[in-house]
């Protein structure tokens, strides 16, 4: 057999989804058909005896799918692994029924037979849905596609059954007689549907409820684990260091920050945009020096070299304030404008006289003023003894291409 190089899978006997030898399933995959169609065709052929021969021949000459074979032995718990015995029984039953009908009506061309076949086919399609693995998919499926497909199948099945039944009755010239019976039957069916529907809906709901409960439990477990690892730990540390108020405050702030970022996690990556990066810098300085730093950010934009330099300058300003200002807290305000990014680092501490700063002190001149200018920005420092200090940093934004 010439095997096309690309799309069509090589003809193999299926392991996954096989009922008997995997011939029909493999053939269906090779031809791109639904296995049910192939199985029914084989069965129809079997009525004359050819189908059985074809099946046996294929079974012996076509190899099993090697990959699936491996997979099967790898995962013994796989849901689709085993043969669905009920399906086998059904196909055998169907074949037997067809054989009996053939014997009874004595010819493939008797229209009556075809209506019986229609009806049975419809029945099979409907019944397919009742097989356990598919029912499972149905119930858990949240994707619309699967549901639509299932509905279409069910619709086709119902249609075939109805056509089969009505055709059968018409050809038996019994439709007139059957009308009363049909009405009765439909009424009974409708009644049953009314009784059963709420129960089924209830089942589905219960299942959803169960799933939600499971998810909630998992979340609760995660929360408990997190609280234990972080908060409880810090509280223990705080009790031990109770005599050192500065350390206690530092621990509390660090924990507060960690908990906050965990609770209100920002989607933004700290290293790719300005605002979370500024907050991270402030957190680091605060952890190092123990002075609370309050950060407020307005707007955001992607990082670039100039902005990275600005953040280093801002960090230097925060470190200076923490070390020399003798203040209780530091305010940092970052604002991303259309044209520029501004950062203000302010404290209400000791302040200093700019003229008193020696030329060679790197902190202010090199790390803040010089660094900003080198990257095309500017820095201004407003301070005087007793008035606190505010470092204003300004960096133009690189226009987005």
């Amino acid at each position: 057999m010439a095997v096309p190089a690309t799309d069509t899978p090589r003809l193999t006997r299926a392991v996954e989804g096989r009922l008997l030898g995997g011939v029909a399933a493999g053939l269906a995959r090779h031809l791109g058909l639904d296995p049910v169609v192939v199985r029914l065709a084989l069965m129809a052929l079997s009525v004359g005896g050819i189908g059985v021969a074809v099946y046996v021949a294929l079974y012996f000459f076509v190899p099993e799918d090697p990959e699936e074979k491996e997979k099967e032995s790898d995962e013994p718990g796989s849901r689709r692994k085993g043969r669905d015995l009920s399906q086998v029984v059904a196909y055998v039953g169907l074949a037997t029924g067809l054989g009996v009908l053939f014997l009874l009506f004595g010819g493939v061309f008797d229209p009556l037979l075809w209506f019986v076949v229609f009806g049975t086919l419809g029945g099979v399609i409907l019944w397919q849905h009742a097989n356990p693995s598919q029912r499972d998919e149905w119930m858990t499926s949240t994707v619309g596609g699967a549901g639509v497909k299932g509905l279409m199948r069910a619709g086709a099945g119902v249609l075939l059954v109805v056509v089969g039944v009505i055709g059968f009755l018409v050809f038996q010239e019994q439709l007139q007689n059957a009308r009363a019976g049909l009405t009765f039957a439909f009424t009974v069916l409708a009644g049953i549907a009314l009784i059963v529907a709420p129960w089924i809906i209830g089942l589905i709901r219960e299942r959803d409820q169960e799933r939600r409960e499971r998810i909630r439990n998992a979340e609760r477990a995660e929360l408990a684990a997190h609280i234990h690892d972080s908060v409880l730990h810090t509280l223990t540390l705080i009790q031990r260091r109770a005599e050192d108020p500065r350390e206690v405050q530092r621990l509390a702030r660090v924990q507060e920050r960690a908990l906050r970022s965990w609770l209100y996690q920002r989607p933004a990556d700290a290293d790719t945009t300005v605002s979370p990066a500024l907050e991270r810098v402030a957190a680091e300085v605060e952890e190092e020096h123990g002075i609370p730093i309050e950060v407020v950010c307005v707007g955001d934009c992607p990082m670039d070299d100039g902005l990275a330099a600005m953040l280093r300058a801002a960090r230097e300003a925060m470190v200076n304030a923490s070390k020399y200002a003798r203040t209780e807290n530091i305010s940092v305000f970052g604002e991303v404008d259309q044209e520029e990014v501004l950062v203000f680092v302010r404290d209400r501490g000791a302040g200093f006289d700019m003229d008193d700063i020696p030329e060679d002190r790197m902190g202010v001149r090199g790390s803040i003023l010089g660094r900003m200018e080198r990257h095309g920005g500017s820095a201004r420092i407003r301070t005087s003894p007793g008035e606190g200090t505010e470092v204003q940093l300004r960096m133009p934004r690189i226009p987005e291409a």
């Binding site: 906050r260 970022s261 209100y264 996690q265 920002r266 609370p292 309050e294 407020v296 950010c297 307005v298 707007g299 305010s331 305000f333 604002e335 259309q338 203000f344 302010r346 209400r348 505010e390």
Partner: protein, 223 residues
């Protein structure tokens, strides 16, 4: 009774305050920190008792926790302000989530401060709000700037949906950590003018129906 002309900042009267917070520890802590600056006339730990106590005591100001069992601070605002529109609210929280903060301010609170505020600053804020002014913490100022920042959508009501240059300038200074007095000095205006600007921003925040405000609040989870 709160009289529109009463001014607590003169140092004469002391504002009567009800503290609403579900943590008893926090309530007693605040009570202790405030000391003589205010008269605490009642406490409540949930929405229903808060509405009851406030209705009974008729305080000048309610110190309101944003997160409360029974519907949150917003629910207290809704029920109390419907009957006693003259009572002023100062919101207080640890959460700092933009959605919550903007929520209580839009619900009628005249100010928002975080629980880390010092006792002295809290007393100042209470007096200010009791006098009818608005109190913005740096963080709230940041939130508001963000909410009103330039968007592509044209404002529905230009008077309500935009901040003036001056209001923006005032908010930016508050966000930088400036006190009202310092803002006034910086911008060469009086403290009273700063207060007017902040009150005007508060009004816009409460009345603007700009859908960006709510959308922004849910989309951005600023901490």
């Amino acid at each position: 009774m709160a009289d529109e002309s009463t001014s607590f900042s003169d140092g004469g009267a002391v504002p009567r305050v009800v503290i609403v917070d579900d943590h008893r520890l926090f309530r007693s802590g605040v009570r202790g920190e405030l000391g003589e600056a205010v008269e605490v006339v009642g406490e409540a730990g949930d929405v229903d008792s808060a509405v009851h106590v406030i209705g009974e005591k008729q305080p000048d100001l309610v110190l309101l926790d944003v997160h409360l069992p029974g519907g949150g601070g917003v629910e207290v605002l809704r029920r109390v302000l419907a009957q006693h529109p003259q009572i002023r609210f100062l919101a207080l929280s640890v959460s700092d989530a933009a959605k919550d903060v903007i929520g209580v301010v839009r619900g009628g609170a005249r100010g928002y401060v975080t629980k880390t505020i010092s006792g002295r600053e809290l007393a100042d804020a209470i007096v200010r709000v009791a006098d009818g002014d608005a109190v913005f913490s740096p963080r709230l100022a940041g939130f508001v700037l963000d909410a009103f920042s330039a968007t592509d959508a044209p404002p529905v009501d230009p008077e309500l949906d935009r901040l003036t240059q001056r209001e923006r300038e005032v908010l930016r200074h508050i966000a930088r950590g400036y006190a009202y007095k310092e803002v006034a000095k910086e911008l060469f205006i009086s403290v009273k003018t700063v207060e007017t600007h902040v009150s005007s921003v508060l009004r816009k925040l409460q009345l603007s129906n700009r859908h960006e405000l709510s959308r922004w609040a849910t989309a951005r989870r600023l901490v």
